[in-house]
């Protein structure tokens, strides 16, 4: 029992520590040129300078991290917000009304298999090299998971709850607002969590190709300058921000879906 409790306490940190230690040892062993696989300590050194401007080893990026991070984050936030707005609104309409479903869904299902990155050429010629093509790509990436999960949630709404709502005298609009949407929320949140992952993926991709700022741009630019320590620092930054934005959604979710606490959230993350 106590042994298991001990392992429980350790298991979150054990694997990352082992990986980092092994990587550090491998990098220092000289099996590969140090420049090709920088040790974690080197990466942290570069990252520290990028964030705080400690010794200027990252040159033009020294102390620039907050600005790069904010550029990426604002693109994610903008594209994700638009995707949430359209995805939820359209999802409720399609899930609720058979007529809307027949008119709109086939078109959306044909657009859906097209990978968002394949829109990059068109996004650049339509919006130029700036924030807009990146936001457009983020929107495309986050929109479909949010849409599909919303449709799924609305269609899964218990018919008996709608009957109960009709019984207490609710109009269609009120039934949507007070029964269908709340009932679909668990599913909508599942869509948002998938969507935020796609959002980061596409921001970084867009920044490598179509934008001249942000974490993805730093990553690609450092690759040209053979600064693999900075490449890794950028990768770690993206991972961290992706994790934090998912955590933020999970926290909102735990608040909004607190009525579910006893059923689903306990076993999960």
């Amino acid at each position: 029992m106590s042994a298991i409790a001990h392992i429980r306490k350790l298991d979150r940190t054990l694997v990352p520590i082992l990986v980092l230690a092994g990587w550090e040892a491998f990098s220092r062993s000289g099996a590969l040129p140090a420049a090709l696989l920088p040790a974690p300590s080197t990466v942290i050194w570069a990252w520290a300078d990028w964030v705080f401007g400690t010794d200027g080893n990252t040159q033009t990026y020294s102390g620039h991290w907050l600005i790069d991070m904010a550029a990426s984050l604002s693109r994610v936030a903008a594209g994700f917000a638009i995707a949430t707005l359209f995805g939820v609104a359209l999802g409720v309409a399609i899930g609720w009304s058979r007529a809307t479903e027949i008119v709109i869904e086939p078109t959306l299902q044909m657009l859906r298999p097209i990978p968002p990155v394949s829109w990059i050429p068109l996004a650049i010629i339509w919006f130029g090299i700036a924030n807009k093509p990146a936001i457009f790509l983020v929107f495309l990436g986050a929109f479909f998971p949010i849409l599909l999960n919303t449709i799924h949630g609305v269609k899964g709404c218990d018919r008996n709850l709608i009957r109960a709502g009709a019984m207490v005298g609710g109009s269609e609009r009120k039934l949507l607002r007070y029964i269908v949407v709340p009932a679909a929320l668990p599913s909508i949140f599942a869509g948002l969590r998938i969507g935020i992952g796609s959002a980061w993926m596409l921001t970084v991709t867009a920044e490598m190709v179509a934008v001249k700022s942000g974490l993805g741009y730093v990553l690609w630019d450092s690759y040209y300058f053979l600064r693999y320590d900075l490449v890794l620092a950028a990768m770690a930054s993206i991972g961290l921000l992706g994790f934090l934005s998912d955590l933020a959604i999970r926290m909102v979710m735990a608040r909004v879906l607190h009525w579910q606490r006893n059923t689903t959230l306990r076993g999960g993350a």
């Binding site: 007070y178 009525w259 006893n262």
Partner: protein
């Protein structure tokens, strides 16, 4: 004027896969007086829930008319409170919000909703559970919330579709006692669907015995036993024997059982 007027109502379900019509209800005519407690009693598949759903406005008769308080039933409405077989509460709302759900949809302020809900929460014996969620309550307690939700609308009639069917025997008897108390205190017209003879005889002022294939009313029996009713008394047993005789021969499995789900 009768509270509920059902005249010559038939319901035919079309079985699309077999391309045949199934008569669920055949020429039903019933008049329910104000403050009457009518139990619809019959074997499964006799169309008793279908009849209730048509009074509620969830389904439309194939022919005939239903009027509540002189108004023909076209759609569900707050003048008819329904208590469902499973409570059908909103799992994301606490007890008091579920009880006052009618007021939420009609746009009342939170303070008013909370105050109005409290009286009905007390009436069904859930004082102290106002902020619990349905998932935290037992089946019997959830049904009490469902009853309080229907009562709060102050409806002309209350329609109950086997509301105690999923409860254990002890809880069911407690709930029956409670329901009679609330009905006596509140005054109102109740239509109560059940397949339990004891339940019908314990609750109703009248019991409508139905037969299946096609669904018809066999007999409407007025029950004037004193309350609280003694389910072991000779008069109770005599009525029970009479109803059993009416129901006998109705036990063969009916194709309507599928339709009625």
């Amino acid at each position: 004027m009768a509270a509920i007027e059902i005249s010559h109502v038939s319901k035919i379900f079309n079985d699309k896969t077999r391309n045949s019509d199934v008569v669920a209800l055949d020429d039903i005519t019933v008049s329910v007086a104000r403050n009457q407690f009518l139990c619809l009693l019959g074997p499964s598949g006799c169309g008793k829930s279908t009849l209730l759903n048509m009074i509620a406005g969830f389904e439309q008769p194939s022919s005939g008319t239903i009027a509540v308080d002189g108004q023909p039933v076209m759609a569900p409405g707050a003048d008819r409170g329904v208590v469902f077989q499973h409570a059908n509460l909103m799992p994301w709302l606490p007890v008091w919000e579920n009880v006052a759900f009618h007021l939420l949809l009609s746009g009342s302020q939170k303070g008013e909703r909370r105050a109005r809900a409290q009286g009905f929460i007390d009436m069904v014996g859930l004082t102290g559970f106002e902020n619990h969620y349905p998932s935290e309550l037992s089946g019997g307690m959830n049904q009490r919330v469902g009853i309080a939700r229907a009562l709060l609308m102050n409806p002309q009639v209350i329609l109950m579709d086997e509301p105690f069917g999923a409860l254990d025997e002890q809880t069911r008897m407690d709930m029956q006692t409670e329901l009679v108390r609330i009905w006596q205190q509140h005054q109102g017209t109740i239509v109560f669907v059940t397949h339990g003879i004891d339940e019908a005889l314990t609750l109703g002022t009248h019991v409508a015995v139905m037969s299946a294939r096609p669904g018809r009313i066999r007999e409407i029996i007025p029950i004037d036993l004193p309350r609280p009713r003694d389910i072991t008394s000779p008069q109770f047993n005599a009525l029970k024997r009479h109803i059993l005789a009416l129901l006998r021969g109705e036990r063969a499995p009916s194709p309507l059982e599928v339709v009625n789900q």
